[in-house]
């Protein structure tokens, strides 16, 4: 048999039938539902007179529409009604719901790996584009729309076309102060927000091999910002050690059986990719975005770019519009830009290791006057683990607010918004126009850079705090 990539092995394993003309029917191993779209899908199915094909492969949790305030107090009326509908419809369909306050609740892309639901070699979908996150454990995972969501509920399959493959090799050792978030932002800056469009991306290289699973999840999370529907890392001993003993991971003999199968998943050494990119990570500094696309990114000690230097007219116009929206002047340093809000959390950087990074910067310091800084753990388990090691007190003593797990200000669909015109440094993944609220100005950065910005009241080089 010809040499195959990790992608090809997993894809081929899931083909139920060939529909011709490049389309195949793929089996879905894990379908995750959240509060924004879950009940809508289940109601849609009911209206069609159909039953859920495999409720035992379907899992649900509220994350997007619930507030992160204590007691979920700020949740809007619509948010509550979506949660009520999700409760009622999952109960009726026999789908496991991880409800608020329960171990297991959290941002859907944080809980999948953490509970051991997301496993190597599985095909995972969710009505959310950051489903690519789960690729960090060696799964093919991607976001789907509402129609496809109904299709999966009804048939446990999806009609898909095979994407091209790309391998990104991150080689070398990270410099101090540089985190996985910086690597992926840097990559997006280099190949662009459409650089991965049409590709399934495998992240590899010595920096990935040395990286804990949580960092890999962060890298895979921003695959969609690269334009790629899915991104993944081949499973290895680090992956297996991370998964072993997780609540829903296989146990005993089943674990040994699974492990033997997983070890055959990594791509054959001579398997070919349609595109290869290599990044020397020793040359990567902490990153921060300056504009309204994730590709609008510079080193934190870099300069706000000047659109007049851009030859491509479409790109130049986008840069000008972005600078106007962000209220920035070209040519000056990005460091020193005053900030009003700091948001630490999201499916990108809401895991325990992220909170540890932020806490190590915050410890013993104070949030600058006039800055509001939130820490929103990615899940109930992250929250409890962080509290067990005292991170909540590190944050609150430094003047950060410690909140309940969920998406919160990452998407501002739960009453939690950055006010118009205000500037936020956020560990999330989208700096789009209005993403964190109408006219809100978002700078994406790592948890360390975000924490440093909260203390300085301005964007600052975490390696040389102001």
């Amino acid at each position: 048999m010809a040499a195959r990539t990790l992608f090809a092995k997993i894809w081929d394993d899931h083909v139920v039938s060939d529909l011709g003309d490049g389309a195949v029917l793929l089996h879905v191993d894990r379908h995750l539902l959240h509060d924004l779209g879950g009940s809508r899908g289940l109601l849609d199915l009911k209206q069609r007179g159909l039953a859920v094909q495999s409720p035992e492969l379907t899992f649900a949790t509220p994350d997007h529409a619930i507030s992160s305030a204590a007691g979920r107090a700020g949740t809007t009326e619509t948010g509550w009604s979506l949660l009520d509908a999700l409760r009622a419809e999952t109960r009726e369909a026999g789908i496991r719901l991880f409800d608020v306050g329960q171990r297991g609740q959290g941002i859907v892309h944080v809980i999948g790996p953490e509970l051991g639901l997301s496993l190597p070699g599985t095909l995972i979908v969710c009505g959310d584009s950051h489903t690519c996150t789960h690729g960090g454990v060696g799964a093919l995972a991607f976001g789907i729309g509402s129609s496809e969501l109904s299709h999966v509920l009804a048939t446990q399959t999806l009609v898909q076309r095979r994407p091209k493959t790309m391998r990104v090799r991150f080689e070398g050792a990270l410099r101090p102060g540089v985190l996985p978030k910086d690597l992926i932002l840097h990559l997006i800056g280099v190949i662009g927000a459409a650089g991965g469009t049409g590709y399934a991306v495998e992240y590899a290289g010595s920096a990935i091999a040395a990286m804990p699973v949580e960092g890999r999840l962060t890298i895979c999370n921003l695959s969609i910002e690269l334009g790629a529907k899915m991104g993944f890392v081949a499973p290895d001993e680090t992956t297996y050690a991370y998964l072993q003993g997780r609540p829903y991971a296989p146990k005993g003999e089943a674990w040994e059986h699974a492990l033997a199968a997983w070890r055959t998943l990594p791509g054959d050494p001579d398997a070919a990719f349609d595109r290869e990119v290599a990044i020397d990570v020793a040359g990567v500094a902490p990153q921060v975005t300056w504009g309204t696309s994730p590709e609008h990114v510079v080193a934190v000690d870099g300069t706000i770019p000047d659109p007049t230097a851009e030859a491509d007219p479409v790109r130049r116009r986008a840069m000008e519009a972005a600078l106007a929206y962000m209220g920035l002047e070209p040519g000056g340093p990005i460091a020193g830009t005053k900030v009003d809000w700091v948001f630490i959390g999201s499916c990108t950087n809401g895991r325990l290791s992220d909170l540890r990074e932020a806490a190590s910067v915050a410890r013993g310091n104070r949030v600058a006057d006039g800055v509001r800084a939130w820490v929103v753990p990615g899940s109930e388990i992250v929250k409890r683990d962080a509290e067990a090691e005292g991170l909540d007190r590190v944050f609150t003593q430094a003047g950060f607010e410690w909140r309940e797990p969920g998406c919160s200000m990452c998407l501002a669909a739960n009453g939690e918004v950055v006010p118009p015109g205000q500037r936020s440094v956020s560990t999330s993944n989208r700096n789009f126009v209005g993403r964190q609220g109408p006219r809100a100005r978002t700078h994406l950065a790592s948890p360390a850079v975000a924490a440093a910005a909260a203390l300085a009241g301005a964007i600052t080089d975490v390696r040389r705090p102001a």
Partner: protein, 210 residues
């Protein structure tokens, strides 16, 4: 699903790259289960309105004849970002049933086909040429998109062939729903799961841990 065969319509050029789905429809318009049919006023909300809530006369879709546009001519990577199908619904409710661009966000591209909207990929130079012709006619020159013959005809009569996967073309032409077609494969799906349970039993053991 609605059928798409041939469309002759006003085309509005929005030649920005990376227009994301947050720009097409803001999330708060999509929260709730009764949103279908309410989205037209909020399509391109981030570009259409000034901070005081009034319409921005500088935005193309606020100006006649582009207000009635059935086609959007867009820059690279249109519809990137979130998977929200509401982006497609809002375009549809606004009367847009075709988007022409050099490239699209993958999930948005899929979502279009699920709703009877045709995303057409044409070379960047062809897309900007189309936009130029439309602008020179001040929007009066209509664009024709013919899915039966897979060709876009510019206001000046220039013909630009495009490609679309045969299966998807057929579904659009006939307004076929994918769920119905897949359900006819129920036996194949059950067969797959039965074999897979032998091969990868751990995938199917999902009860709550003791």
């Amino acid at each position: 699903m609605r059928r798409f065969t041939r469309l002759e319509a006003v085309a509005a050029p929005i030649l920005l790259e990376n227009i994301d789905t947050d720009v097409i429809i803001r999330i708060e318009r999509l929260v709730g289960n009764g949103i279908r049919g309410t989205l037209a006023p909020w399509c391109f909300g981030a570009l259409r309105y000034l901070p005081d809530g009034s319409e921005d006369p500088g935005f193309v879709l606020n100006r006649p004849p582009y207000r009635e546009a059935g086609i959007i001519i867009a820059g690279r990577n249109f519809g990137c970002g979130s998977s929200r199908e509401g982006a497609v619904w809002s375009l549809q409710e606004r009367g847009v049933t075709c988007v022409i661009a050099p490239s699209f966000g993958d999930i948005f591209f899929n979502n279009c086909f699920q709703n009877g909207i045709l995303p057409v990929v044409l070379d960047e130079a062809v897309v900007s040429g189309l936009a130029r012709e439309v602008e020179e006619s001040q929007g009066a020159g209509r664009v024709t998109v013919d899915l039966e013959h897979c060709v876009v005809v510019s206001p000046a009569g220039r013909r630009h062939p495009f490609q679309v996967e045969a299966r998807r073309r057929e579904a659009l032409l006939q307004g076929l729903d994918e769920i119905g077609a897949t359900r006819r494969q129920a036996a194949a799906i059950e067969g797959f799961q039965a074999r897979d349970r032998q091969r990868r039993p751990w995938v199917y053991v999902t009860g709550d841990p003791a």
